[in-house]
Symmetry: C2
Subunit: 479 residues, 2 copies
């Protein structure tokens, strides 16, 4: 291995091949569920260096198949499914893209910007805004996650309803293949039908098919106003009805539709003294709506008010407030974003990131709530999520008074099975926006179609026959 490390040092410089000291920032996952060991953390500064590193590793593995060498690409290391940290073997190279953080260009007429994979998402948002545009990918980790990681995992977030997932915000990629070749696909084109859709194959592949080194992203005109409302809704069915009305009234201006259950909001009220949570005490659910208007604040407000009037008249909303200013809007979003933290304060819990068709939402929740309550008397359910996309963070908290760690240890497998079986029965997905990583790779064999798994395996084998790139993540080569 020493020869390889010397070679890597020659490529990226000794200072950027880390083998000693505290490497936990790269070897431990965000939620601290996995503590791996890296052969080295390698930090290339350019696409060419990435390609050379991969080629050197591929050559080494070809000559020393017994070494079990592999590469784990890593961005901001904020993933939630243990997909970007090394295992415990010490045979994996962490290839960190952090140093590749240049914004290569902004093309105003084409509404695109080209950025390197290591750019922090928030920096991408800010650079877009500086240029007078909106890059609407937005999620809790935006201050530390990288755009390369966002694309590698096809990140979702709060604006999917209008703009789609990370995949939909990307027009082109630059990728280093498992052979160390560079695919230059930074097209910036909105139409290109010259062959298979490689871009979307690499996006969401979590670094198992190649390393995304740069991307051309879509930009949108900045909205003239972004208005936020908070509505009390009596039931899940009512929330779905409100969503339909919101689509009709606001069209493409509807950029956010977040649903929160009463218990989830009560946790925020309990653990965050500084946040006043509106309307949750008298209502089973609250919904946060966002209206991004191309015209003016006055217009945005009148549109939102007319929607809420219609919803009150139809009975799917019982009460509502519209934020009067930016500070109020931010507070409403802060309440929504604080749910995971409030939950953590309340104690460890079993998290799910699932999706079902919007039409199946209410039935899914009613049935699964009942099944869990029967299986585990007193269990507490924290429901919140992006209802507009059918994406629910359906989290399960220990009954009052029960030790959370014990609960997790004893009940996690059972709870997962109940929830995932219900997801399958309702035509849903057991991983809506977080990906597969190591955490869910073995669940897929039960919950994903065998034909799809076989096709995925064939693709992995064809594009990475050495199994060099992030092996054991997303799909295992053996059935």
């Amino acid at each position: 291995m020493q020869n390889l490390l010397s070679e890597l040092k020659a490529i990226v410089g000794s200072a950027h091949v880390l083998t000693e000291g505290d490497l936990s920032a790269w070897t431990q996952d965000w939620r601290k569920r996995s503590h791996g060991k890296a052969l080295a953390v390698v930090r290339p500064a350019s696409t060419d260096e990435v390609a050379q590193v991969v080629k050197a590793c591929a050559d080494f593995l070809t000559q020393h198949p017994e070494s079990g060498l592999s590469i784990v690409p890593q961005g901001g290391n904020t993933g939630l499914v243990v997909g970007s940290t090394p295992d415990e073997t010490g045979r994996q190279i962490v290839l960190s893209l952090q140093r590749m953080n240049a914004v290569r260009s902004v093309d105003a007429a084409n509404l695109t910007m080209t950025v390197e994979a290591g750019c922090i998402l928030q920096a991408v948002q800010e650079q877009a805004e500086t240029a007078g545009f909106w890059f609407p990918l937005s999620l809790a980790a935006e201050g530390s996650c990288t755009i390369g990681g966002n694309l590698g995992t096809n990140a979702g977030g709060t604006q999917v309803l209008r703009f789609g997932n990370a995949r939909d915000l990307c027009l082109g990629l630059e990728v280093v293949t498992p052979q160390g070749d560079v695919w230059q696909g930074l097209s910036g084109l909105r139409k290109d039908n010259t062959g298979y859709d490689l871009k979307n194959l690499y996006i969401g592949a979590e670094g198992t098919l190649g390393i995304i080194t740069a991307a051309t992203l879509k930009l949108y005109p900045l909205p003239k106003a972004q208005l936020t409302a908070w509505a009390a809704v009596p039931s899940m069915e009512a929330a779905v009805q409100l969503l339909g009305l919101a689509h009709q009234h606001l069209g493409a201006s509807l950029t956010g539709f977040e649903m929160m259950g009463q218990f989830a909001l009560s946790l925020v009220a309990r653990h965050f003294d500084n946040l006043r949570v509106p309307l949750f005490q008298e209502s089973a659910f609250c919904v946060l709506l966002e209206n991004a208007d191309a015209e003016s604040e006055t217009h945005a407000r009148s549109q939102l008010e007319s929607l809420l009037e219609a919803a009150l008249a139809e009975g799917c909303v019982t009460d509502a407030v519209v934020a009067e200013n930016l500070a109020q809007a931010q507070t409403l979003w802060q309440i929504r974003e604080s749910i995971p933290l409030a939950q953590a304060q309340e104690g460890l819990n079993i998290k799910h990131d699932i999706s079902v068709p919007v039409s199946a939402f209410a039935t899914f929740v009613t049935r699964t709530d009942a099944q869990l309550a029967q299986a585990i008397p007193g269990v507490r359910l924290v429901n919140f999520g992006h209802l507009g996309d059918g994406n629910l963070h359906y989290n399960v908290q220990a009954p009052v008074g029960q030790d959370a760690a014990v609960f997790l240890q004893e009940q996690e497998a059972r709870v997962n099975q109940i929830v995932f079986d219900a997801v399958l029965a309702h035509g849903g997905s057991i991983s809506a926006e977080h990906g597969v990583g190591s955490l869910k790779v073995d669940h897929l064999s039960h919950y994903k179609s065998p034909v799809a798994l076989q096709t995925m395996r064939a693709i992995k084998q064809a594009l990475d026959p050495l199994n060099l790139m992030n092996p054991g993540r997303v799909v295992r080569l053996s059935a």
Copy 2:
């Protein structure tokens, strides 16, 4: 082969295995460039029958590799790149999806509908509208093309600016693999990160990786008003400037932005007496804009007028009209849609379906016009297209008085090379929305990255090792 044909008859019924009589509706391509010969035209009625047909063919080919048997999937056979008709060997089965034309379901709350591949696009649009929704894929062949063909070729059309290509309007697929297995991926989910993006791999693969048998499509709320304007713009640069203004003023309500050159419009004026083409005589280009408003016709009109006022003030528009009623709007669209027909009336011509970044549009056209004029004195250029997507139908017509057929024969290769080289130099695509088929497959080896081609080949080989599905289209297995 007789055994195979008997087996196919047993699967789909004798009446649906056609081997005699005039089969040209299936064996000749839309533009009548290719006249193939089919071993049989097979018309299954269900996904199960498609799967059985493919399995029977795969088995036969495995036992008789010398037979050179293969399958050409076909929808409405309206493609423009000879991708869905058989070659001349008589060894290809045309698998027509036309009998699979059921709308399986409309899910109003989920804003989706699930349809079989053989549904005519216009029928899909109409069924969506009957249910109160908008399916915005729209293109000239909509009365005869099928949704399966639209997805197989990732069709574009006039609404891409706002809604994306066919790919972006599809949430899930049902696919019969080259092994005759069925992948049931009709999810209707807007978020699903459980592995590689197979959906987008099959979309645009032109039937070379499997056969799309059904799809779950996105629906949108019907707009309250759709308003059309026609603007005279002095130059290509001005058209790009107008596009930027339109994005800012109309946001997501901007659903159409079609640019037409003066010569293209003069052909419509000449060959269609019944159409009055506005504003083209005094202006180098005209732009057709469409504003689809979620609010009201009054609002749509005031938004469009305020955009045009701003554009007049900035000088990127010199004159404009807004359609007063639906009939006027339809006439404006009819003028746009009549350009290809008017061109055909004028004589054979060399067609291109290219894209470049919007920012490179003006330079591309100016330079390429000049190069062609120098190479072929008197050559006439018919420019029109979806400027909002960077997609140009850049067609080349013989000089006045020259025989069009002779021109085509003598100049096509040379013109293609000039245009494609210019496309490459401007970072564009030589096939924006029509696909590759047989017509462009050999061009790709020059104009597509070798790394991309190699990756495409590896995928084709992995998923269809027998090379059973539409061989020689999109990508050849040998370099």
